[in-house]
Amino acid sequence: MPSKLAISYQEVTKRFGFLAAVDDVSLDIAEGEFLAIVGGSGSGKTTLLRLTNRLIEADGGTVMVEGEDVRSVDPVALRRRIGYVFQSGGLFPHLSVADNIGITPKLLGEPAVAIAGRIDELLELVQLDGASHRDRLPEALSGGQRQRVGVARALAAKPRIVLMDEPFGALDPLTRDALGEDYRALHRKLGLTTVMITHDMTEAILLADRIAVMRGGRLLAQGTPAELSSSSDDYVLELLSTPRRQVGRLNALLPQSGAA
């Protein structure tokens, strides 16, 4: 295990009424790691993510970010130093692409010139042409472009940690694949720690270093894809069997010398 922890959940619990959305979860994420949290709807994966930057507060246990208990940190300052990519982009519809990307540095009071330079840099990083995209409103972008802007916005204040809530879920398969690969490259290049929520085990296996599986608020298993495949839990094995089955069927259906 790497020595320094970026995020550490220790016996964390969050209830909504009688329902325990997150139930006694303990999980460590090392600096530079790419962790995917996989689970169905209602598994508690999004709740766990939201506890990290205090969009909601835990009822029990401790969430540590870069060695500090999040309860002792000003939530607004905490959120400004953690990138967050929202499910359907979460772009502000009345602000241009540039203003959306530059929002967090602007909140931090960085000079306008520096922000403008950073926006160009980020557009290049997420492979959008700056000249033609800067001044557009989000409604004038495709779904994939919007999510690229969402990633750029999350990275604008140079965070070391990025949280992603099903970032590529609503995209067509080709775009999704390309964006996933591009983000994975960014993660490595910038030395980020990334926590990504997904319900798609294939995506998790292809992108993440390590996978955590959640169900009914509880953490069922965690580890590399290889470690998970030796799990004794039926649900984990079932999740893993789906991509395997798909690969088998695809290999049978597609000619071996195909384009891919």
Binding site: N53, L55, V76, A77, R79, R80, Y84, F86, Q87, S88, G90, L91, F92, P93, H94, I103, T104, L107, L108, R153, A157
Partner: protein, 519 residues
Amino acid sequence: MSLFTDPRWGEALGHLPDYLGNHVRVSLAALALGLAVSLPLAILTRNRPAPRGILLAFASIVQTVPGLALLALFYPLLLLAASVTLAWFGVSFSAFGFLPAMLALALYSMLPVLRNGITGLNGIDPALIEAAKGVGMTARQSLLIVELPLALPVMMAGIRTAAVWVIGTATLSTPIGQTSLGNYIFAGLQTQNWVFVLFGCLASALLALAVDQLLGLIENGLRHRSRLRSGLGAIGIAALVAATLVPTMGRSSSGYVVGAKTFAEQYVLSALMRDRLQAAGLSATARSGLGSSVIFQALKAGDIDLYVDYSGTLWANQLHRTDIKPRAELVAELKTALAKDNITLLGELGFENAYALVMPRRRAEALGIRTIADLSGHASTLSIAGDYEFFSRPEWAALQKAYGLPFRAQRQMQPDFMYAAVASGEVDVIAGYTSDGLIAKYDLVTLDDPRHAIPPYDAILLLAPKRAGDERLKAALQPLLGKIDIAIMREANLRASGNDANSSPDAVARWLWEQIARR
């Protein structure tokens, strides 16, 4: 004479700077106050369902109160408040005109602003509010950077609705002493001057449209982040304010204010008195269209300096007397009573404008009715109409007590329409006014009152407390006292009810002065 060459258009245009300026001033002040209260309330209650419900219910209830009633209610309310502040802090303020009109209109503007404000803020996608939080905005930044801009179109629609309502409803502030474009409408309606009515309606509609369009331009600019468009809209509003305020600011507000109630005779008499004061070298303006109960309080408070009232009205409404005395005795007693409030009863003009039961001459003769006593036997088959206050006045109670009079039906009518209604048989009997010129025009008769149930209604000239020792004023008015008899007043009223250039109150007042001067 064609509609467009009618000189009354010119006369109407002459009043425009004064009426429009006051209208804009009271409307914008009301709107500004309404927004200053409603917008913060909408923002504060957007996530709190309970206070939000109470607030919206309150605003809805206010909206169901008719505009005229709401405006009228604020006058006694403020009078009360003024007397309280006078007793507690030794300072008083005028409960007349601008203040009650502005407060009532501000209250009136609240519902659309509140409702659209709350709807707009609540309609924002919760995911965006979470995104605002997620990128590191404080609650205040989220409100300013995300929520308000996104709610803006809906909020502005509410503000525009409020602006149009306020500008339209402000025409009803005339009876509580606030000059507005409603002065055209009230005066026009009372003196059958349709040019004035039309002019007033057009002017207020155009004003409302202009303000709505300018607000629309500001909204458009804000939405598309175009400083040019929102700037132009703001300049437009500022220009409108400046254009309507400048002409009225240069004018001196000192001088005598002659009050008039809301009917033609009063418009004529106030114009006559204003002309007399001006002829004597005193500066004077007429404040017309004041409500019957507002006008006496306004005189008492010094908001107007003089007006003509009727002895029986004050006897019943101010002294709360139900007994009836002969004309001279009643005026003498009234004079003593008013003197206690420092109000000067300068004297009688010479005619009486009493309530009288009025029927078409032929009909009365056919039924053999000459007096109210004769009428009582036929009452159960007849209908009666009166003005808006008649049936709640003590005279009506006294008439019923003295003669019975179980009429088949009772109706309230605009006074000008009553005479035509009784002449055409729409109603059988009306409670008309003895000085009304239409009695002769339609060949109507006033029925005798052998049991003296209706008190005398001598026209009397009243002066405000602060004018009690003003000898120049008294000298200027002296030539009018005792010089206007019932015949000449009826003819003046008949002229005023005409629909041509010679029927404006100013023209009739000049005619009336010629008749008086000749004597």
